[in-house]
């Protein structure tokens, strides 16, 4: 018979070192410690940016002030707001990312459906080409595109990003085609056959059966597409410069824009460009995405499970 003492010891052991059913205190503590440490390192650039952007010019020069500014100084944000031309660039950034994303999602759902539900010759070739569009770097195709756009007077217009999306060649479209392919592949064929017996046409089956079932894939595709279009600067700088101005484009030439507004030789020392103003601009740049992320975070972090893109 086991004495009460050994039982207690077992329980204590289990509590500290873990048992079959739980990890135990020591393991849990280690796990949390490790995750918090890694999480801190991971978020360090963001914390650094946030803290620095709130520092007043005198705090910046004071080596004693590292992590806690002496006052909450918003002057950097006021300047960055003006330099970024925030309201205008924000609206064009939203337009430039949302419109191609919606179009891209619709077109990719069509292509994904075609690949998942129909047998036809050349399907493997098509898959290889779709993969190729994912691999080919943008600079291998961008110059002729740019020259053609120039010829048609489309440079600087949002059409230069919308047109490729309209024919399934939008930014990272291969991933979205794959998401829709996986989604439609898992749709039971029975539904489709039943609808066909009722005399529904292929298009009708697509719009009334396939599309509603693909709602999660649409949400995931659209939000990822928005994020990627928002952050894309290689193509936007080439295609849009001189016309539509997005937030990241404006951030990329922040120094130049700042010096146009506050000429270095003219303004007093406190109005010179410093890292706090630059980082305020950076923070204003990612703020809309951060808000979107925290509102929709479930859709982001569960996206891959929901769309089953890893399905083999």
């Amino acid at each position: 018979m086991r004495s009460l003492k050994t039982l207690n010891l077992d329980a204590a052991k289990g509590f500290l070192f873990g048992s079959r059913s739980s990890y135990g205190l020591i393991f849990s503590l280690l796990l949390y410690l490790l995750l918090i440490a890694i999480g801190f390192v991971y978020l360090y650039p963001l914390l650094f940016m946030l803290v620095t952007s709130l520092k007043s010019p005198s705090d910046l020069l004071n080596p004693m002030v590292q992590w806690v500014p002496t006052e909450l100084y918003t002057g950097n944000y006021e300047k960055a707001y003006l330099v970024l031309d925030y309201p205008n660039t924000l609206v064009s950034s939203i337009l430039i990312s949302v419109v191609p994303s919606l179009i891209q999602a619709i077109v990719c759902s069509l292509v994904g459906y075609g690949l998942a539900r129909y047998r036809f010759w050349g399907k493997n070739l098509l898959f290889m080409l779709i993969l190729a569009t994912f691999i080919i770097p943008a600079q291998n195709t961008v110059i002729p595109q740019m020259l053609t756009y120039k010829q048609f007077g489309l440079l600087g217009s949002s059409l230069s990003l919308i047109l490729p999306a309209l024919v399934g060649q939008g930014y990272k479209s291969a991933i979205f085609i794959l998401i829709f392919y996986q989604t439609f592949l898992s749709l039971p064929k029975v539904l489709e056959e039943a609808a066909r017996l009722d005399g529904a046409s292929d298009l009708k089956i697509f719009t009334s059966i396939a599309l509603p079932s693909a709602a999660p894939a649409f949400i995931v595709s659209i939000i990822f597409s928005i994020v990627w279009y928002w952050n894309e600067t290689y193509l936007t700088i080439i295609f849009l410069e001189g016309g539509v101005q997005t937030l990241p484009m404006q951030l990329a030439k922040f120094t130049q824009a700042y010096e146009n507004m506050y000429p270095p030789g003219v303004v007093n020392i406190f109005d010179r460009l410093n890292e706090a103003i630059k980082l305020s601009g950076t923070f204003l740049n990612i703020l809309p995405l951060l808000l979107m992320y925290f509102v929709l975070q479930k859709w982001f972090v569960e996206s891959i499970e929901r769309t089953g893109i890893t399905g083999e």
């Binding site: 849990s28 650039p45 650094f48 595109q145 024919v167 990241p248 950076t282 990612i286």
Partner: protein, 295 residues
């Protein structure tokens, strides 16, 4: 039995199916031809020419392979940047793969605040754009906190030979940045970890396998396909990133007086072939490795 007729019906059915299939993918094929294939061919054609763009027309002078030989043998910057890119990619890929696998293994355990940590580790995916990274890097915010600036490290770096110094310096100054490219990979690992049948672990435990053995014998082999997907995804993301030094150099040369479109196109194609070669190397490496495991 009316075999020919049956056969004809069957043909009709499959032809009809194929036609509808083509109907759905048609738009992509057009787009591919217009926005990818034609510009790709055109860029290749440019790369064999000296291209001068005037207000009215684009003038081409055939120079055969001169742009390529210039990039490979004359231009001192391009090859150095290209080698730097290869080394950085080969360093970053294992770090990202191991880091994302470890984090995914952690997040696959059941514990409180799991969702919070998932949110943290995915956050960088949402905010990583070229200008943001450029700003953060220039402020020294992407190095491992406090390491890269310390005098001892600088001293240590000075001692290293040049070919070692650059990769080590890159590792120290961009450490967080490298980790920031792991977000999607963590989620992909997590999704495939959740697909492994729990019964296998139980069976292994009954046979006396320790969790350590179970990891090497069950978890790792089940993740080999995922690792391959993640490695390819990582290489492509790193290679397409707009702050990539080779890409910046090539786009700079496009408008440079002594460079031009032809030269930039040639460099783009060299870069593209290096990228494909890297993908092939990593593909072969991982598939050989997992074959070895299977034996």
């Amino acid at each position: 039995m009316n075999l020919p007729r049956f056969f004809r019906n069957e043909m009709r059915h499959s032809t009809r199916e194929a036609l509808y299939g083509y109907g759905f993918v048609f738009i992509w094929v057009i787009g591919f031809a217009v926005f990818t294939l034609a510009p790709l061919a055109q860029t290749f054609y440019y790369s064999l020419n000296q291209v001068t763009v005037s207000a009215t027309e684009i003038h081409l002078d055939s120079v055969k392979w001169a742009n390529y030989t210039r990039a490979l043998f004359t231009d001192p910057n391009f090859i150095e940047l290209l080698v730097g890119y290869i080394i950085q990619t080969l360093i970053s890929v294992p770090i990202i793969i191991i880091f994302s696998m470890v984090i995914a293994l952690f997040l696959n355990l059941g514990f409180k605040f799991k969702g919070l940590f998932r949110t943290i580790f995915f956050l960088p995916v949402v905010i990583t754009s070229g200008p943001v990274i450029a700003e953060l890097t220039s402020q020294g915010a992407t190095s491992a906190p406090g390491i890269a600036q310390s005098a001892a490290v600088t001293e240590f770096l000075m001692q290293l030979p040049r070919y070692l110094r650059n990769p080590v310096e890159y590792l120290l100054t961009s450490f967080i940045l490298i980790l920031w490219f792991s977000g999607v990979q963590i989620l992909i690992y997590l999704a495939s970890l959740q697909k492994i049948d729990k019964n296998i672990y139980e069976a292994a435990a009954i046979d006396g396998a320790s969790p350590w053995e179970a990891f090497w014998k069950i978890t790792l082999p089940s993740l080999s396909t995922t690792t391959l997907i993640n490695a390819i995804y990582t290489i492509i993301t790193l290679s397409h990133f707009s702050e990539n030094k080779v890409i910046k150099y090539v786009s700079g040369q496009t408008y440079a007086v002594d460079g031009g479109i032809g030269y930039a196109s040639a460099m783009s194609f060299i870069y593209f072939s290096v990228l494909v070669a890297l993908l092939a190397i990593v593909y072969l490496f991982i598939t050989m490795q997992s074959k070895k495991d299977a034996e």
